[in-house]
């Protein structure tokens, strides 16, 4: 039974390539107007899931629907209210920015007049209006990315899939695109954001699902996920001398599971922040060091991710794939 508040509903979705299971029976829902993050390392099944939801690929089994329309059996209807920003900026390089938008509008059944009006509005919003008559082959990476996002908005989609929208971009473009994503979501568009950038998911998403090896290992708000990671707490400390002590010394302190150097700071994963802070104070006294900064910020989404997926842990799996 379709819930009117549901934008996306996925039930037991499986995608196999021979013996390889890329997506292994995942289920989740995305509410209307939500900014939903789909997190996972490379090869976890994120893009495969997006490809199935957007009709690029077909599932082996299971079901998925968008606004109540099955993506396989009723794909035409499902796709009418959707658009996608794929991982690769796939605008037609032989076409101008303007022609790309006009073509996309026509392909989605938007009238020529409305497409032209919207194309102008989007090109101005994305600071590409002056380049509207330039062929895309002359565009920078950032400009292509912005154009592809504009193309995805030409039909005013109710659900927007964004697959790694900021990958490979310079800092300025990343900031601009993140701001655009927030604005689009504020306008009521449901955004399904696929990313392996945890910081990005943390600052943008209402809820996130973490997928690893084709299976969803957690779904919740970023803050709830951090709170749920009881075994992971963080103490950050900085001394007046940058070369104070070796990482092994700090890793051997009471309750510390792992010590990582972040510039002039040390980041200690601990099971007992209180015991660790006391030990650090003693350590500083013994070594004649002065503590210039100390903080217990709680675990980041990255810590939760490592805890849940095992990626990056000593003895855990690598982060590639």
């Amino acid at each position: 039974m379709h819930d009117d508040n549901q934008a996306i509903a996925v039930e037991g979705l499986v995608k196999r390539y021979g013996d390889l299971i890329a997506v292994d029976g995942i289920s989740f829902e995305v509410e209307r107007g939500e900014l939903f993050g789909f997190l996972g390392p490379n090869g976890a099944g994120k893009t495969t899931t997006v490809n199935i939801l957007t009709g690029v690929s077909l599932p082996t089994s299971g079901s998925a629907s968008i606004h109540g329309h099955d993506v396989v059996k009723d794909s035409f209807r499902a796709k009418e209210s959707v658009n996608v920003v794929p991982e690769v900026s796939n605008a037609y390089v032989e076409y101008t920015a303007w022609n790309n938008l006009m073509f996309t509008g026509a392909l989605y059944g938007v009238s020529r007049k409305e497409t032209a009006r919207r194309a102008e509005e989007l090109l101005r919003a994305f600071d590409l209006y002056d380049k509207r008559k330039v062929k895309v082959k002359g565009f920078s990476q950032g400009m292509r990315r912005k154009l592809v996002i504009a193309m995805a908005l030409i039909n005013k989609p109710r659900v927007l899939f964004m697959d790694e929208p900021t990958t490979g971009l310079d800092v300025q473009s990343v900031i601009a695109i993140r701001e655009m994503v927030r604005d689009l979501n504020r306008e009521g568009i449901t955004v399904f954001l696929t990313t392996h950038n945890l910081a990005e998911a943390n600052i943008l998403c209402d809820r996130v699902a973490i997928i690893n090896r084709g299976r969803i290992v957690a779904t919740d708000t970023p803050e709830n996920l951090k709170r749920a990671a009881h075994s992971v707490q963080v103490v950050e400390v900085s001394f007046d001398r940058a070369d104070a002590g070796a990482d092994e010394d700090f890793a051997a302190l009471p309750a510390v599971k792992e010590a990582t150097r972040l510039g002039d700071k040390l980041r200690l994963l601990t099971e007992d922040p209180s015991a660790t802070v006391s030990a650090l104070t003693r350590y500083a006294g013994d070594k004649g060091l002065k503590i210039t900064y100390i903080n217990t910020p709680g675990p980041s989404l990255e810590d939760v991710f490592i805890e849940l997926t095992g990626i990056g842990k000593p003895g855990g799996e690598g982060s590639g794939g």
Binding site: Y17, N51, T54, G55, V56, S57, L58, K73, D74, S75, F76, R77, K79, E80, V82, N83, V84, P86, V88, N90, A91, Y92, V93, E94, Y95, F103, T104, A106, L107, Y108, G109
Partner: protein, 255 residues
Amino acid sequence: MIGEALSPERLGKEFRRSLVIAGKDIRIYCLKPPVLLFGLIFPFFLFLSFYVGKKGPISEGIPGLVCISLFFASSNIAPAGMPFERMTKTFSRYLSAPISLTWMIFGKTLAGFAFGVLVSLLPLLFGVIGYGTAVTSPTLLVLALLVGGMCFSCMGTLVASMPTEMPGNVMTVLNFVRLPLLFMSGIFVPLADMPGWARGLAAISPLSYANDLLKRSTGNTGYYQWWLDLLVLLLYTLAFFTLAAWIFNASRRRS
């Protein structure tokens, strides 16, 4: 949902979107080097190389030139475009857009068809204006261009259904099919002058039937019945398109 897919409103939407795809393909791919080389230049020089030194009037060869142009140009657009679109990931734009795979393929096929028919009009005008080629049956001529163009374009779409990102691979396969067909279809040697085994081979080539129709339409004697020419071309069109759609669907299932 099958009923909805066949509703006039839905069919209208899908048809309009397939025209959008066809229009885009014509604008983007007509001037691509492989299209110009294999669609225009190659047929023209191939024809010249066979007719230079021949004793008969050149106007007799015009139906053959029209047929070669139609054959090469119609079958060229999809194979030149689709691998490139897979490589640049623009192909996935169609799959995520509200248009069914069948109508998307139809749009791609229409582009080849339109390009082929337009290109074939050039040698026809060249023959009519320059060498006095007479069009004795305009109806057969139009049917030959329309049905032949669609048939060859579907053949190109079928070859383009190969799931590869390398345009060169598709062009190689396409020419591997096209060149033997060219020499066994009665274009350079009339079917009536061929030995029995060669006529048997010619009977399996769709090009033989298109060439036969074009010959008839310009006052020459045909080898097959005109209705048989049309029927065989239509059957080939249906077979090529159905097979192409099946392969595209299977590729999507595997992708």
